[in-house]
Each structure stands twice: as structure tokens, then as C-alpha cells.
């Protein structure tokens, strides 16, 4: 700008001064040049203002406000339209998606403010947020007036508590093809379930089985032998059972066992709602109990051919004495929890050799 000013003042001085033709010629040439320069500058600035008009959001408060206002008014109009729609019962099914669309555009507005908040004055941010909350309230009001179905969903939820119910509901709600898979998966989970007074034996030999989980559930007065290693073990509702299991690489989750003896080896062991049960454990971390009483702990004493290698493979080869480091979630004090104790030496079982136990009964 300064250069231009300078040359203009030069230009105004010259006509009054020399009339020498050579100088005059030079003068005319210069004026030409300056005119060209001016022209191109004008063009540039015109282009610049055009481009800034194309992206008004670029750090301009006014542009932001216009855009915000426009969108806000559009949302208001949409809500009003939804209300009008609701008068006509035929359009009722389309009402819900319409209202959801409105919710989405309000969320967009929210984002617009967040995106621009770094350059907006505090007042504008505040008033925009306030405008958004007004819109949200209007939408909520419209939602509760136009879609009063919400009341029913509450009843639905409470009735869903039963897991069997849940599975059934899924079955009903969605197409049969996709749910079969969920159901199949639920049922296929391998395990021993709902038995009484049996001897249950499972040997995990195949490498594929070693990568899977296993469930013991609803067993009463059973003896259970699990040989070989597996990834995860779930134990649920056992009464008066004896369980001897090979190493588990991941975790064991135990819930509701009563009057049992469990011999287990794992990375993690969680015990919930157990009463009067002895645990013989080899565990890499600290076992935990929750809502338990009269549970006792001792070291793992299981033997069958190959168990040493399996234990080593699962990182359970070393004695950590963690079987005695039990954390009781219902007893967070420094003194010993009354809910658990160690099995006194005179009551300890010797090594349990299950080498001769073979999978004969094929009841799965």
C-alpha cells in the first residue's frame, strides 16, 4: 500500500513540473504500469472477498451467527412440522424417525458451537448453548407429547430380567436366521449341566478344545474330573460336588457353590457366594472372594500324567503361595476376614492322583 501511495504522490507532482518530452513519455509509461497494477490488485481483492464469502465459517463471528440462526430456525420449523404431522394419524409411524432426525440436527448444532468455540466471544458461546438447550427442551416436550409410548418401555425392561426371557425376546424381535446363531452359541458352550450323583469326566486333548471355555452348572452330588488345559472355566450352582481340574490359562469364575471341594489352577480365580467349601488352588494372582462364608484354602495337589508340562505352559509351574493371599471384597480391613481360613495341616488332602480316571461315560 505504501508503494502505491508513494507513486501516486509522484504522479501528482510531475504534471506541474517538467515538460520535457522524454520525461513525459516515461511518465505516461509509468501511469500505464500503475493503472495495470491497480487493476490487478482490484481483481485480487475481489477474488479474495469472493472466496471468503464461500467459506463464511472461517473464524467469522457474524458468519457463525447467521449459520447458527438459520439452522436453529430450521430445527424449530421441523419440530413444528412434527407437531402438525401428529394431527394426522396416518403419518404416525413416520413421526419417530422425523423426531430422531431433529435430535440429530440439534446434535449437529451442538457440534457447530463446539467447533467454533475457540474464536467466539464467551457471550456468543453462552447464548448459542442456551439456544440449543431451549431447542432440546422443545424437542423433549414434543417427544413426550407425540410419542407417549415411552411409558410402556419401562414395563418391558422389568420383565426382561429372566435370561430365558431375554433369549426368547430376541428370538421374537428379530429375524429367525440371525438369532439362531446367538441361540446356537448359547447352547453350544461346552459344559456339564444339571446332573445329579454322576461321575463326570472330560479330557481336553484336541488343541481346539484347549482354546475354549468350559462350564459346570447346576450339579448336585457329582464328582468332576477335567484333564488337560483350557482357556476359561465357569462354575455355577454346585452342591456337594468334588471338582478336580487341570490348569486354566485365563480365569475361573465361581458362583454359588455349597459344601464342595474344588481343586483348581488358574491365572485368576473369583469366588462369589460360596459356603462351606474347600479350595485347593494354584493361582498366579491373588484369589478373591465376595459374599462367601466358611471357605477354606490350601495348595493344589493334583496329579496325572503330563500335568507338570501343562502347568508350566500355563505359567503355573511355580509355587506362588497366592492360594493363601485371599482378598475378601466384603472385608476391607487389615485384620483377618472371618469368612475364610487356611485348611489346617491335619485335614489336608494328600496328592490326588487321577491318572487312572478315564473318559468312559459319554454323557455330555
Amino acid at each position: 500500500m505504501e508503494g502505491e501511495d508513494g507513486s501516486e504522490s509522484q504522479q501528482s507532482r510531475h504534471p506541474a513540473g517538467t515538460l520535457d518530452p522524454a520525461t513525459q513519455k516515461r511518465h505516461a509509461a509509468m501511469i500505464d504500469r500503475l493503472a495495470n497494477l491497480h487493476q490487478s490488485r482490484l481483481q485480487q481483492s475481489a477474488a479474495r472477498s469472493a472466496s471468503s464469502a464461500a467459506s463464511p465459517a472461517f473464524e467469522s463471528v457474524a458468519a457463525f451467527l447467521t449459520r447458527f440462526d438459520e439452522s436453529g430456525r430450521a430445527v424449530e420449523a421441523e419440530i413444528k412440522r412434527c407437531r402438525d404431522l401428529s394431527v394426522d394419524p396416518a403419518s404416525a409411524p413416520s413421526l419417530k424417525p422425523e423426531l430422531e432426525k431433529v435430535a440429530a440436527s440439534i446434535a449437529d448444532l451442538d457440534r457447530l458451537v463446539a467447533e467454533n468455540s475457540y474464536f467466539l466471544p464467551t457471550y456468543e458461546v453462552r447464548s448459542s448453548l442456551k439456544a440449543i438447550s431451549v431447542l432440546k427442551e422443545a424437542l423433549d416436550a414434543a417427544n413426550s407429547e407425540l410419542l407417549p409410548r415411552k411409558k410402556f418401555s419401562f414395563r418391558n425392561k422389568t420383565s426382561k430380567k429372566d435370561p430365558i426371557c431375554l433369549v426368547k425376546e430376541i428370538e421374537e424381535e428379530k429375524g429367525p436366521s440371525s438369532d439362531k446363531r446367538v441361540l446356537a452359541a448359547v447352547r453350544d458352550s461346552p459344559g456339564f449341566r444339571n446332573k445329579e450323583g454322576s461321575i463326570l469326566i472330560k479330557h481336553f486333548r484336541v488343541s481346539e478344545e484347549e482354546e475354549g471355555d468350559f462350564t459346570l452348572s447346576g450339579l448336585n452330588c457329582c464328582e468332576i474330573y477335567l484333564k488337560g488345559r483350557l482357556r476359561a472355566l465357569f462354575i455355577h450352582r454346585l452342591t456337594n460336588c468334588r471338582v478336580y481340574a487341570g490348569p486354566v490359562l485365563g480365569s475361573i469364575l465361581i458362583e454359588e457353590v455349597n459344601d464342595c471341594l474344588l481343586m483348581l489352577a488358574s491365572h485368576q480365580i473369583r469366588i462369589h457366594h460360596a459356603t462351606a467349601t474347600d479350595f485347593y488352588l494354584q493361582v498366579r494372582s491373588r484369589p478373591i472372594i465376595e459374599d462367601c462364608s466358611a471357605v477354606r484354602f490350601a495348595p493344589y495337589r493334583l496329579f496325572y500324567e503330563g500335568i507338570d508340562t501343562e502347568l508350566r505352559d500355563c505359567g503355573l509351574g511355580e509355587e506362588t503361595r497366592n492360594w493363601a493371599n485371599v482378598d475378601d471384597f466384603k472385608w476391607l480391613r487389615a485384620v483377618q476376614s472371618p469368612n475364610w481360613s487356611l485348611i489346617p495341616d491335619e485335614e489336608l488332602l494328600g496328592t490326588v492322583n487321577v491318572s487312572d480316571v478315564k473318559e468312559q461315560c459319554e454323557d455330555k
Binding site: Y118, D213, L253, R270, I288, F329
Partner: protein
């Protein structure tokens, strides 16, 4: 609102995100956090209380609160809700029996007003175990599709044991939070 904008500004300066890891016990929350931080995951005791980890992730600093999932301490989860940017819900995909508990706990959590703006990442963990439910099945059982439309959520299958899927999940979470809070980078 004034306070909120101050917090936003401070967070923007430090590029900090607060992430809350929750889920039932035995779902693998601590293992996920340690694995993603490149730590040893072979000896992890069930969490009695909580762990906090600050992890540099991309250009952000993630403040991860890993809260124990045992029933007794679930009622304390609420103490960690304030200012949560991202919620990670971890599911043991092999624990079919407790999926219903899992859904109920998640439903309760999402009703919480202080978590209304948080992005939700659901990790369908333990995909390495044979017979674990697939992420699509978890979406169905947890009824995630019927969630409030304004919630940003994503499901990711993963295995904290092998590490598979963890980064993809966190990538989504961090991107989603960043697009809400730190748009200008």
C-alpha cells in the same frame, strides 16, 4: 456454562482425555489397559478398588480410570463419572450366562446424566476363546441398537490376551472424542 468453557480450554491446552473403563468383573478391563500400555499381563489380580493410567496415545494424553467390577464395588462407579469424555464398557464375550446382568448394568450406567455426553466404546473381549460370542451377537444381546440416538457408540471385538482389536477400538474412541472437543488441530 462458564465453568464448562474454562474446563474445555484447559483440556484443549493439555490435549487430555478422561476415559472410564467399566464392566462386570472378569471381563478383562485391567488386562486391556495394561496390554495397550505395553505392560506385562501375565499376573493380574482382580481389581480391589481402581487403577489410573496416563497413556500417551497419538497426540493426546489419555487418563484411563480402570475401576474394579466386583458387585460390591460397582456402587462406587458413580464416583468416577464426573468429566468423563469416553466410556469403555468391557464385555466377556464367553460369559454367556451373565450377559443379562451385563446388559442391565450397562442400561443403568447409560441413564446417568453425568455420562450423557460421553462417547461409548463397547469391547467384546475374549474373542480369542473358542465359542465366544461375536461382536454382532453382543450388539443384539445388549440391545445396543435401541440406544438413545444422540449417543456416539461403537462396538469392537478384541482380545486383551493377544492384543488384537484394542488399537482399532481406542482409535475410534479417541477420534470421536477429539472431534467433539478438540476440533481444531
Amino acid at each position: 456454562m462458564g465453568l464448562l468453557s474454562i474446563i474445555r480450554k484447559i483440556k484443549k491446552k493439555e490435549k487430555e482425555m478422561r476415559i472410564l473403563m467399566v464392566g462386570l468383573d472378569n471381563s478383562g478391563k485391567t488386562t486391556i489397559v495394561l496390554k495397550i500400555n505395553g505392560e506385562d499381563t501375565s499376573v493380574i489380580s482382580p481389581t480391589l478398588g481402581f487403577n489410573i493410567k496416563t497413556i500417551k496415545y497419538q497426540k493426546y494424553s489419555l487418563n484411563i480410570w480402570d475401576v474394579g467390577g466386583q458387585k460390591t464395588i460397582r456402587s462406587y462407579w458413580r464416583n468416577y463419572f464426573e468429566q468423563t469424555d469416553g466410556l469403555v464398557w468391557v464385555v466377556d464375550s464367553s460369559d454367556v450366562r451373565r450377559l443379562d446382568d451385563c446388559r442391565l448394568e450397562l442400561e443403568n450406567l447409560l441413564k446417568e446424566e453425568r455420562l450423557a455426553g460421553a462417547s461409548l466404546l463397547v469391547f467384546a473381549n475374549k474373542q480369542d476363546i473358542q465359542g465366544a460370542l461375536k461382536p454382532e451377537d453382543i450388539v443384539k444381546v445388549l440391545n445396543l441398537d435401541s440406544m438413545d440416538k444422540t449417543r456416539h457408540w461403537q462396538i469392537a471385538g478384541c482380545s486383551a490376551y493377544t492384543g488384537e482389536g484394542l488399537l482399532e477400538g481406542f482409535d475410534w474412541l479417541v477420534q470421536d472424542i477429539a472431534s467433539r472437543i478438540y476440533v481444531l488441530d
